[in-house]
């Protein structure tokens, strides 16, 4: 089989068969986990004016439509925007072919029809772990777009899996349960595409003023990025 690093790289490039003996059983059912960064993320909204009835803060949720999240966030007095970018990225209408025949994405069209907001529109963004599952071509441009639509001092919450999470980690929908607790609802249809090292994350979000990392015991890094 080769060294662990070699195995990991093969998996990273999609070379491992999901039916191989290394395939781990996919957990089923919902689980909840404490999310320290979420509490910090919510508290970071207070200086921005949360609870102001005249001018509600705007928050963008990039995950799948979640009644719980919408209830939670509107209950806080936020103006909630929802765009399931993973769902959109899977839409065949955005696929294109590069000059060498390889498959690419029609990025101009994707961003005309998704995340088309003016600069600094949002006070906060919940990115969850979508960057780990997005097609490679979309990661950089999406981060640029998020930086564009997030206002100065606005906060972005993102999750990144560690290498130890394993190739077969299912995609989850995150539901806000409490200010420091999220529920993970496993969903089918998406595969972990990559693992970001901390250095990658810092480079990717270099336009952000600050980055705060929280490492969970379940191989998930919670990161708060402030614009």
């Amino acid at each position: 089989m080769g060294s662990p690093n070699h195995t990991f790289l093969r998996w990273f490039r999609g070379g491992l068969d999901s039916a191989s003996p290394a395939h781990k059983p996919v957990p089923v059912g919902k689980t909840s986990r404490r999310c320290t960064a979420l509490g910090d993320f919510i508290r970071s909204l207070r200086p921005l004016g949360i609870g102001n009835e005249d001018e509600k803060l705007r928050i963008l949720d990039l995950g799948p439509t979640s009644p719980a999240n919408i209830a939670f966030l509107t209950g806080m007095g936020l103006h909630v925007y929802n765009e399931d970018v993973l769902h959109a990225a899977r839409d065949p209408q955005y696929r294109s072919h590069n000059e060498d025949g390889s498959e690419g994405m029609d990025l101009p069209r994707f961003f005309r029809e998704n995340l088309d907001y003016p600069q600094g529109k949002f006070d906060a963004i919940l990115a969850w772990d979508v960057l780990d599952y997005l097609p490679e071509a979309l990661v950089g441009p999406l981060v640029e777009r998020l930086a564009y639509v997030l206002r100065s001092h606005g906060a972005l919450l993102a999750f990144f899996h560690t290498k130890d999470a394993g190739a077969d980690l299912p995609y989850h929908r995150y539901r806000l349960i409490q200010a420091d607790t999220v529920e993970l609802d496993p969903r089918q249809g998406f595969r972990l595409q990559r693992i970001f090292q901390n250095r990658h994350i810092e480079n990717m979000f270099k336009d952000f003023a600050s980055r705060k990392f929280f490492l969970g015991r379940d191989n998930l890094r919670e990161v708060i990025l402030v614009r």
């Binding site: 320290t36 509490g39 910090d40 919510i42 508290r43 207070r46 949360i50 609870g51 009835e53 509600k56 705007r58 439509t65 979640s66 009644p67 719980a68 919408i70 209830a71 939670f72 509107t74 209950g75 806080m76 007095g77 103006h79 909630v80 925007y81 929802n82 765009e83 399931d84 769902h87 959109a88 539901r175 806000l176 349960i177 409490q178 200010a179 420091d180 529920e183």
Partner: protein, 198 residues
């Protein structure tokens, strides 16, 4: 010997008296099986669904409308509509076959099908699990079923007629719970939730 009684001369049978032989009225009282079969007949009296009610306008799935649609009655739309829909104080239901591209104003909007456009509902909006809504929603209450697809903004508007409740509290520590919001506790997340105006 024993003197035969009149009833002993009747032929032996293991079957109880059949309702059909004794009449429906008496059998209903006599036979438990009959009594259990009767209620479904009573229940089978159709309770008209929203789309079947006489006071509800109905636009079927083969209908295509381009333009402005206004009305003073509840409306069920299952067709292909493009333009604007204004029902003011009435309820609009978009059926599972409905494909709507329109800005909607109504008291209450229920979406089963596909809707592209903004929704302004004075009372509430309900997104069923089969629905796709691309647009902004402004309403006092919203219910979203698990499985509904929504892309856009949600603005929960305050009912001016209601007295203003106390200001919401926000977490001061990592362990603070946001679950104290009555809106959030109103319904289990798996079924959707109604949001009361703040």
């Amino acid at each position: 010997m024993w003197k035969a009684r009149p009833e002993d001369n009747k032929p032996m049978t293991s079957n109880p008296p059949q309702p059909s032989q004794t009449g429906a009225a008496s059998s209903a009282a006599a036979s438990p099986t009959t009594s259990t079969t009767m209620p479904p007949k009573d229940n089978s009296k159709p309770v008209p669904s929203f789309s079947e009610r006489a006071d509800v306008g109905h636009i079927g799935k083969s209908v295509v409308i381009r333009g402005e649609l206004t009305g003073n009655e509840d409306l069920y739309l299952d067709g292909d509509i493009e333009g604007t829909i204004d029902l003011r104080d009435h309820k609009l239901v978009i059926g599972p076959n409905g494909k709507i591209k329109a800005s909607i104003t109504a008291r209450e909007v229920v979406v089963h099908g596909r809707l592209e456009g903004n929704v302004a509902a004075t009372d509430r909006v309900e997104l069923k699990k089969s629905c796709t809504l691309i647009g902004d929603v402004g309403t006092q209450r919203i219910m979203i079923e698990d499985g509904a697809f929504f892309k856009g903004a949600i603005d929960i508007k305050e009912n001016p007629q209601r007295s203003k409740p106390a200001a919401p509290s926000f977490p001061t520590g990592a362990g603070s719970s946001m679950g104290s919001s009555p809106a959030y506790n109103a319904a289990p997340a798996s079924q959707g939730s109604f949001l009361d105006p703040k």
